[in-house]
């Protein structure tokens, strides 16, 4: 039923729109304007045109961070998607204790990133000996300082970030499974569908829309990944775990280069839009093929 007065919906939406403009659009425009300047935070801003954007192409650290970010996005998205889905499937099949299990799975989401990172930092430390190297020693292996290893540190940062947030996607998938009509599932059972077939042919296809929404959130979130990398390793060792967001933050606030930092922020915005656009394209094709 359409509203009688066309203006009223807009008026009711106005406070939310104003807040959105104030905290998203306005800072975005402000940041874009800074990206055309050279400014250290002290004194006047000097307009330098597209120099900051030209610098992006020759910045070796940025491209290292971008490659790291692609790895972080692919592995992190896959990990969180699969982990969230598996946990949701487990929860739908557990009758006793599912409430407690749900809380336990969700706890990492609500613990602060600082606490999670410090816990894992101590667990992975070799000197002083942490839990994981101690287990490696007990198993007769040489303990590895994972967070100081150039080749392994990014994997651990990705997995720890995934561990923190997979509970959120578990909740989303679990809600989606709960909303599937029981009649459909019962009809499938009556037709001789087993447990695996139920998920393969009934439940997962029915939550395809949710799946793509989660994928968009994951891709967007991992492209802007910051806290775990920054707190745990500060982008190190060297640039092994440097992500584009951490590099942007350090450029602006450590190196006092707000102009170039803003250009990096615009880069993140554009790469997020491109990535989400690609996901939407796949979604549209998937719907077309149905």
């Amino acid at each position: 039923m359409k509203p009688k007065y066309k203006l009223e919906p807009w008026l009711f939406s106005l406070p939310a729109i104003l807040v959105y403009i104030g905290i998203v659009i306005f800072p975005l425009i402000w940041s874009i304007s800074y990206s055309f300047t050279d400014w250290s935070g002290i004194g006047n801003k000097a307009f330098i045109g597209f120099d900051n954007y030209i610098r992006l192409f020759s910045d070796k650290t940025l491209w290292t961070a971008f490659r790291n970010n692609l790895f972080f996005m692919v592995v992190g998205t896959a990990f969180q998607l699969i982990a969230g889905l598996v946990m949701a499937i487990l929860l739908t099949n557990i009758t006793k204790g599912s409430n407690i299990l749900r809380v336990v799975y969700f706890i990492p989401c609500i613990i602060s990133s600082m606490a999670i990172c410090k816990i894992f930092e101590k667990m992975l430390s070799v000197q002083p000996l942490g839990v994981i190297p101690a287990i490696m020693k007990l198993m007769g292996m040489e303990p590895i300082a994972f967070l100081s290893d150039y080749n392994l540190s990014l994997i651990w940062v990705t997995l720890i970030d995934g561990y923190k947030f997979c509970g959120l996607y578990m909740v989303i998938f679990y809600s989606a499974f709960m909303n599937i009509s029981k009649d459909v599932v019962e009809a499938a059972y009556l037709d001789g569908c087993n447990w695996f077939q139920q998920y393969r042919y009934i439940k997962l296809p029915l939550i395809k829309n949710i799946f793509f929404v989660v994928l968009v959130i994951l891709v967007n979130g991992t492209l802007k990944g910051f806290d775990v990398s920054y707190i745990l390793t500060s982008g190190g060792p060297g640039n092994a775990t440097e992500l584009v967001a951490t590099y942007m933050y350090k450029t602006a606030f450590s190196m006092s280069n707000f102009g170039y930092g803003s250009a990096l922020a615009v880069f993140i915005l554009l790469e997020s839009l491109v990535a989400v656009g690609i996901v939407r394209l796949f979604e549209a094709r998937s719907h077309k093929n149905e």
Partner: protein, 443 residues
Amino acid sequence: MKKKVLGILLVFTMLAGLLTGCGKEPANTGGSGTSASGEEKASGDRTLHINWLSARNADEAVIKAIKDVAASYKEENPDLDFSFETENISDRSSYLQKLKILAASDELPEWYDSDPDTWFADLVKAGKAYSIEDLYNELGVSDKIFTISKEYARLSSGELNLMTFQCNTEYFFYNKKMFQDAGITSAPGTYEEFLKDCQILKDKGYTPLSMGGDWPILRYFAMVPFRLTGNDYIMNSTAGKASFTEAAGIEGAEFMQNLSPYFQTGWSSADYDTMVDLFASGQTAMLYNGTWVLADLSDENGNLKEDFGYFTMPVYSDDDATASTDYFANSGIGTAVRSDSMDEEMKSFIHYLIDHYAKASLSYNNLPSVMPDDETMSKLSDSYQQIIKDVSGVKTYAKCWDVVINSASVEPLEKETTSLVLGHTTPQEWAKNMDEIVASENK
């Protein structure tokens, strides 16, 4: 019609609720002159409000000592509306980020900590830091401050805009038992002996060196160039007038790679506290650090614990440009006073602070930047008396890379040096990258 009016009223009610919190409080200019509510002070009212954004831990001796002095100043001035608050951010990167954001939004507090680096020099040029040299001269206290505590805090232009509260030298602290057990009978005097001793300790199953945090790795790198050229190399290379590919730079880089096997496993992700704790708890044989760490390594009498000894920076070769008595000495991070907060009340408090700081500082086992009086000197522990002697004996103070280099290059320098030590780049690649970084930041 009624529904339309009701709808519009509801919208405006929501908007009003949204906008309620948007009113701006009158700015608290701090210092004296205005109260927190922004009212003009009545004539005869004395006020002084100091907010200090500090890079030091709240438990640090400097903070505790100054708070004690502030408390006694308040007692002695009952007619003064005085408050002294500190905000402590001990993680240096986080501290600097907050400071830079405050500076960019022109919201610096009355006191704030900084090193005399290029970023602070820009702040001085913008008139955001009072001249401490002028202040010391006006108060007639310049002679009371240790030379290093003034010289270290000077900008490259020669201006002094930072108060300092420490008088530090840097040593290699070592574990005597580990050295004895490994058969090392005397502290190394040259870098060759130092590396040999590290290998002996490693072969004995000990971890020779403790490492962690941001700046310590840069100190090790600075040692060889300092021995070879004094401060010439650091000043020229950071200004882009000398290349990191020169002999001093490459030899320094090679020394770093030689040290790599002797740090504890996982050092690149260890923080400063872990570095100190590993040594203090007897898990590593040596720790390079400043005398500010004595609070963790001293007994109740203020002397270095029996288990620990120290030696100064070894010499590199017979052709060294510096003497064996020249090494790193500094005054710790400085404290600036925001120009517009310097008034007569502030000057009066700072004068009182300088007069009473030495005794307060030493009560917390911290060497002050102000010379203690004779009575206090005579009661100092042997360790502290020796340190004051060492500081006085230094003719050439080694400059710190993280202070001299353009502040935008500090993070890349730390990362490149970490990669070098981990073996991911060669000294030549490291030197080339550093030249590019310095060139791009000095443009």
